[in-house]
């Protein structure tokens, strides 16, 4: 490190900008780069071994810039270190295959997980680490600061101001880290306004932080990840939702929460205005949410259950509904949603009393993971949502009750009064094709051996899981006082899986007497009442109706 000079970043930045201006010539007007000159710009700006964020979010993708990066000359641009939250597009891995990139730090690889695993074992990719979203954003400001950020926005004006609109997602975190550390920010946009006759609805990213803007030939790709068709919710999921509402939400008085994606949580959302209402719970639970705009929450919002929702991202088709329910969602003066993944992850971690989500495998210690053999996928935000916030200091009734249950009868440091976040794993004991959700040993351990990882990829640690909910009942792990009790509590709700059949029946009955395990009948729930008639919407069409026609589902969800 050269500490005789203190402005090397500014000089390097000036070099890159001068190279770009020179290379682009007349293809650069102000900050606007001609669409066909994107390759020229990338080759001029990028230097070998640069740290680059190619904006890949959970939902929106800088797909035009990704395609352009694959096309650059590997003689000029190579050895890049990619630092981005999500690997969603094939291009995100193509750049490793052709040598443009070498090292990777990320959070989630969803659909690319299998190919990623192959490239890692072939030695084409060096993985730095797999992070949670919040963890990766944190490192943007410590030791993984991008030198060049390739981002995407809905629209730009001539000054480079950006409107990211409902799908703001990761953009503010990426740009903040890059623009204030001497980096270069390049934005692809769907449209460019002139700033006079046409203006941006609002400014999400100030133009001062953006160096180049290029109009993409096609609008950026956005995935409707959080839409679940109510028609596919099963009676068993209705039963489990009844148990969640009566046995956990009502029991603890959960006011602030986050739901993971899936049919299990969609069922809970759709039962609030029906079953929840019949229990007299309106206003007593589920008032504040850290949640994407789930269409399944529309009936509860319409019935007046929900006071506020802050979102990580948006959801296709929900734009007009959100606009019309501005009291509930975070919206700009222009009326459209402002999402922000970093802030919403912080909100979910520190300001929510409960997280509930599904998983693929749970072991006898309560560790849970969605990692499967032959795939390197990461967990995105789940580990931050599904972890006790050890730094939390403000109290709420739900948090205090969970803390009391965990600490009762303990002394010393582990008995010091404090609260605890409710972390609920909800799974049917068998998934489709009779795959057991309960296992003696997580696949994560084998994956660790195969991929040479330092730790097994566990999504939610057993120490953080407070409740396991299955069709057989609820296991309250807060009340367990030994590893043996915890094991039997888990076996006791594991149904007819090998883990469940291996239970010590006497010990399980004892745990049931103590309320550690609660069956539907212990909660006053008759499984025969768990019918789809309890769902406030039973189809996509019902959701549209509940929204007064404001929700416009993407085509693939329209079956009428």
């Amino acid at each position: 490190m050269d500490r005789m000079h203190w402005n090397t970043k500014a000089l390097n930045r000036a070099d890159r900008l001068a190279r770009s201006r020179h290379a682009l010539g007349g293809q650069l007007v102000g900050k606007r780069v001609a669409t066909e000159a994107i390759g020229t710009l990338l080759e001029a700006v990028l230097e070998p071994n640069d740290r680059v964020c190619l904006e890949g979010n959970n939902q929106k993708q800088a797909d035009f810039l990704a395609a352009a990066l694959v096309q650059v000359d590997p003689q000029r641009v190579h050895g890049l270190h990619m630092v981005q939250s999500v690997l969603a597009l094939p291009e995100h891995l193509d750049i490793f295959e052709n040598g443009i990139a070498r090292r990777l730090d990320f959070s989630f690889s969803g659909p690319q997980g299998a190919r990623l695993a192959k490239l890692v074992s072939a030695g084409a990719i060096e993985i730095g680490a797999i992070h949670t979203y919040l963890e990766l954003f944190a490192r943007y400001f410590v030791d993984l600061t991008p030198k060049v950020a390739l981002i995407t926005a809905h629209a730009a004006d001539a000054a480079g101001n950006l409107y990211t609109g409902p799908n703001t997602e990761d953009t503010p975190a990426i740009v903040e880290a890059t623009a204030f550390s001497g980096g270069i920010v390049i934005a692809q946009v769907n449209e460019i306004v002139d700033g006079n006759a046409t203006t941006l609805p609002r400014i999400d990213i100030p133009g001062d932080w953006v160096d180049f803007v290029v109009q993409a030939p096609r609008p950026n790709f956005i995935e409707p990840l959080f839409t679940r068709d109510p028609a596919q919710i099963s009676e068993i999921q209705v039963l489990m939702a009844m148990m969640a509402i009566k046995g956990i939400y009502a029991e603890y008085g959960v006011q602030r929460l986050n739901h993971g994606i899936g049919f299990d949580t969609a069922a809970i959302e759709l039962l609030l205005p029906t079953y929840g209402e019949s229990l007299g719970l309106k206003g007593k639970i589920c008032r504040h949410w850290a949640l994407n705009p789930h269409p399944a929450l529309i009936p509860a919002i319409e019935a007046g259950w929900v006071e506020s929702i802050h979102s990580f991202g948006s959801e296709l088709g929900m734009e007009d509904y959100i606009r019309a329910r501005a009291d509930v969602f975070f919206t700009g003066a222009d009326g459209s949603l402002r999402s922000n993944r970093a802030f919403c992850q912080a909100a979910g971690h520190y300001a929510c009393d409960l997280f509930i989500g599904s998983t693929l495998q749970i072991d006898l210690d309560g560790n849970s993971s969605t990692a499967t053999l032959g795939r390197i996928a990461g967990f995105g935000g789940a580990p931050n949502m599904g972890a006790d916030a050890r730094g939390r200091r403000h109290a709420s009734p739900a948090w205090l009750k969970a803390g009391r249950e965990a600490r009762a009868g303990r002394g010393g440091a582990s008995g010091t009064p404090r609260g605890q976040k409710l972390v609920v794993q909800t799974v049917e004991t068998f998934r489709e094709h009779m795959q057991p959700a309960f296992v003696e040993r997580l696949d994560a351990w084998t994956l660790q051996e195969q991929a040479g990882m330092e730790l097994p990829p566990i999504m939610i640690y057993g120490e953080d899981v407070t409740h396991i909910l299955t069709e057989e009942g609820i296991a309250n792990l807060l009340l367990c006082r030994s590893d043996a009790e915890r094991e039997q509590a888990i076996r006791g709700v594991a149904g007819y899986t090998a883990v469940g059949l291996g239970r010590d029946r006497r010990m399980v009955e004892n745990l049931r007497d103590r309320g550690v395990i609660r069956r539907p009948e212990d909660l006053g729930i008759d499984p025969r009442d768990a019918t789809r008639n309890l769902l406030a919407a039973r189809s996509m069409r019902d959701l549209v109706r509940a929204s007064h026609g404001l929700y416009a589902p993407p085509k693939r969800f329209r079956n009428w």
Binding site: I236, F430, M434, P527, A530
Partner: protein, 107 residues
């Protein structure tokens, strides 16, 4: 070769009933569809509860045995023939359908 549809597995169980079902019309609940099953209850002579299963999911005999044993512990019926046509329902769905079917019987 038998006349079974290829791929189907047949399972039979017999339990001794403790409670003879009052006379009843046959009961049918559920549908044969992916992840689902139909359950039929019919009156039968004798004191036994016989259970016949046709399932498209092969190799789960021990789990079926545990599921129907628990069912008969909950409802120790005699004089009943239970028939199930299954297309890969989970044990949770099987137990629910069995309970739904029994609740249709006269008290």
């Amino acid at each position: 070769m038998s006349n079974l549809t290829p791929g189907l597995e047949s399972l039979d169980f017999i339990f001794t009933g403790q409670r003879h079902a009052a006379p009843f019309e046959p009961v049918l609940v559920g549908v044969v569809g992916s992840g689902n099953l139909e359950v039929m209850l019919e009156p039968a002579s004798g004191t036994e509860c016989t259970i016949h299963i046709e399932t498209s999911a092969r190799g789960f005999g021990p789990i079926w045995e545990a599921v129907v044993r628990d069912f008969h512990q909950r409802h120790p019926l005699g004089g009943v023939r239970v028939s199930m046509n299954d297309m890969g329902a989970t044990p949770a769905v099987v137990s629910l359908r069995l309970d739904q079917a029994v609740s249709e019987l006269p008290a």
